[in-house]
């Protein structure tokens, strides 16, 4: 800003206000278009800023060790968020993912430990059960035409009950797993890469996201998932068998939940029917912060990965800064609200 005011502005302030308005609208407009084009940029920017901010505030935050610890902490919820993303892309929501994960981990554990079934077979059974839970959700949504929210609210309770029944409300302890089924803890094993300490669970999460990215962006199936989420009637008229696509989404999501179950055993070290009680909502949080629209058909699959990392960064950063745990929740809450507000704003572009 120059010190000498523009003579026109000085004489006619209302005009100056108007022109300022115009200028800011132009800039906002461009930002809106840019974000519409690249919706994942919102979480990317938030992640970069939060990492930078916590790097300044919190001691030791910026170490390879701490950053890799964050990855370890988000591995399970991140994998679950991948499953959730698929359903949300079809304008649905899956409240049962967490319950499926815990139930499958119990099945894998009990079959291996109590029934002495070879671990690889237990794992395969677990994956099949995951697929079956997805098929159940998918059938209810496509055949009975129940809203996904209600469907999965119901199956969430059902799977939770089955989980308590199958587990006898008993935890399989870490030592038992070590002696009888060490393979179940595979994804908890650590390895170092530079100064970073990673688990195979982190690698699994990254692979799941990479495969989904490929499937959603480079295959016909992926384009159809987006089309069905965007406008199911248009997709059907354009010749897409929308029910089949929806069904496949729920089944794939169930399989990913089963993989998350295996990963969760490694993360916790034991098989507990009461673990990850909030995983359902945490996965939705990651998806929403990651910029996938709850109205379906919009957003990149990489968003939820970044969304999960943002939550991890906030939790780690606030903890290292010595802030009370309750503020982690407080911050996450605001992140969700801001993310959805931005999504609404970006979507206005089409009207």
């Amino acid at each position: 800003m120059s010190d000498t005011p523009d003579p026109v502005v000085a004489r006619n302030p209302s005009e100056a206000v108007a022109s300022f308005d115009h200028h800011s609208r132009g800039l906002l407009d461009r930002v809106q278009h840019f974000l519409h084009r690249y919706p994942t940029m919102v979480p990317v920017i938030v992640l970069v800023l939060s990492v930078a901010a916590f790097g300044l505030i919190a001691p030791n935050f910026f170490s390879a060790f701490n950053l890799s610890l964050i990855l370890q902490q988000v591995a399970v919820v991140g994998t679950l968020a991948a499953a959730q993303s698929l359903v949300v892309l079809t304008a649905g929501i899956d409240l049962s993912v967490g319950a499926v994960m815990v139930m499958v981990s119990v099945i894998m554990g009990r079959l291996s430990v109590e029934f002495g079934i070879p671990v690889p077979i237990s794992i395969l059974v677990g994956v099949a059960v995951g697929a079956a839970t997805g098929a159940l959700n998918g059938t209810l949504v496509t055949r009975l035409k129940l809203p996904p929210f209600i469907t999965t609210l119901g199956t969430w309770n059902i799977f939770l009950a089955l989980n308590y029944y199958l587990s006898n409300r008993e935890t399989i302890r870490s030592q038992t797993l070590d002696t009888e089924a060490p393979l179940l803890k595979f994804f908890g094993e650590r390895f170092t890469l530079g100064g970073a300490v990673l688990t195979y669970g982190v690698v699994l999460m990254l692979i799941v996201f990479a495969v989904l990215w490929y499937a959603l962006n480079q295959t016909a199936w992926g384009r159809r998932v987006y089309a069905v989420g965007d406008d199911p009637e248009s997709a059907a008229l354009a010749g897409i068998q929308t029910k089949r696509v929806l069904m496949s989404v729920y089944v794939v999501s169930g399989v990913i939940c089963a993989l998350a179950a295996w990963s969760s055993i490694g993360r916790v070290g034991s098989v507990s029917p009461t673990s990850f009680f909030e995983a359902n909502l945490e996965s939705i949080t990651a998806v929403v912060i990651g910029g996938i629209s709850l109205f379906g058909g919009r957003g990149s699959i990489m968003g939820p990965l970044i969304g999960a990392l943002i939550v991890g960064v906030f939790n780690s950063g606030l903890r290292l800064a010595g802030v009370d745990v309750l503020w982690q929740l407080f911050a996450t809450g605001w992140l969700i609200i801001v993310a959805v507000a931005i999504d609404q704003w970006i979507r206005k572009i089409s009207s």
Binding site: H36, Y214, A215, Q218, T219, A220, W221, R223, R224, Y226, A227, D230, D231, E233, S234, A235, A236, L237, A238, G239, I240, Q241, G297, R298, I349, S350
Partner: protein, 257 residues
Amino acid sequence: MTEPLLYARNLVKRYGRVTALDHADFDLYPGEILAVIGDNGAGKSSLIKAISGAVQPDEGEIRLDGKPVSFASPLEARRAGIETVYQTLALSPALSISDNMFMGREIRRPGVLGKWFGMLDKPAMDAFARQKLSELGLMTIQNIAQPVETLSGGQRQGVAVARAAAFGSRVIILDEPTAALGVKESRRVLDLILDVRSRGIPIVLISHNMPHVFEVADRIHIHRLGRRLCVINPKDHTMSDAVAYMTGARLPEGIAA
């Protein structure tokens, strides 16, 4: 006269107590633009849905090229070469022009990538989409990767028509293509329709807009009370004749009440 390409006789469709199609007939000849007009509720859209596979008639027969057909879904009609441009356009707003053009019939890469990994051949799809759009004079669209929702109403209509023209080998059905458009954009869509006919593909045009119908149609099918009332030549009748027949104010010559 030549044989009709698409032929239907005695189509009946009932919805509960409502009879939407009451022994309706339909003929479309090769290379023509046939307009279908009728009052609201006359059963135009039921007729169109029946021949495009969106609904299945309770009675009656449909023949394509002389062979009896019955379409269980729009997909089957499409496979038989009947493309429909719905009033809603059936485009996915958040997807690109190219994605939309190939929705449901994507091209895969040759070789292992396509066969085993289902990898799309995006360059080929983009090139094809660009070519089809420019053939129809729609190349004001710069970026084939642009989401459809960022296009104007006329451009969207253009994309939907281009999609139908690109794949509709036998028949293209257009449902109210100019209803949502301004004067200039309507003009372009009408030119598009004439252009598609000049490629030898017959068109069924459903419209309420009499000037548009009389401008481009070779024959006009007037639908009334669930059946075909008559087919007129636009050169022999005026628009007010057509409206009178359509609404029942007057009967065409040679048709008994």
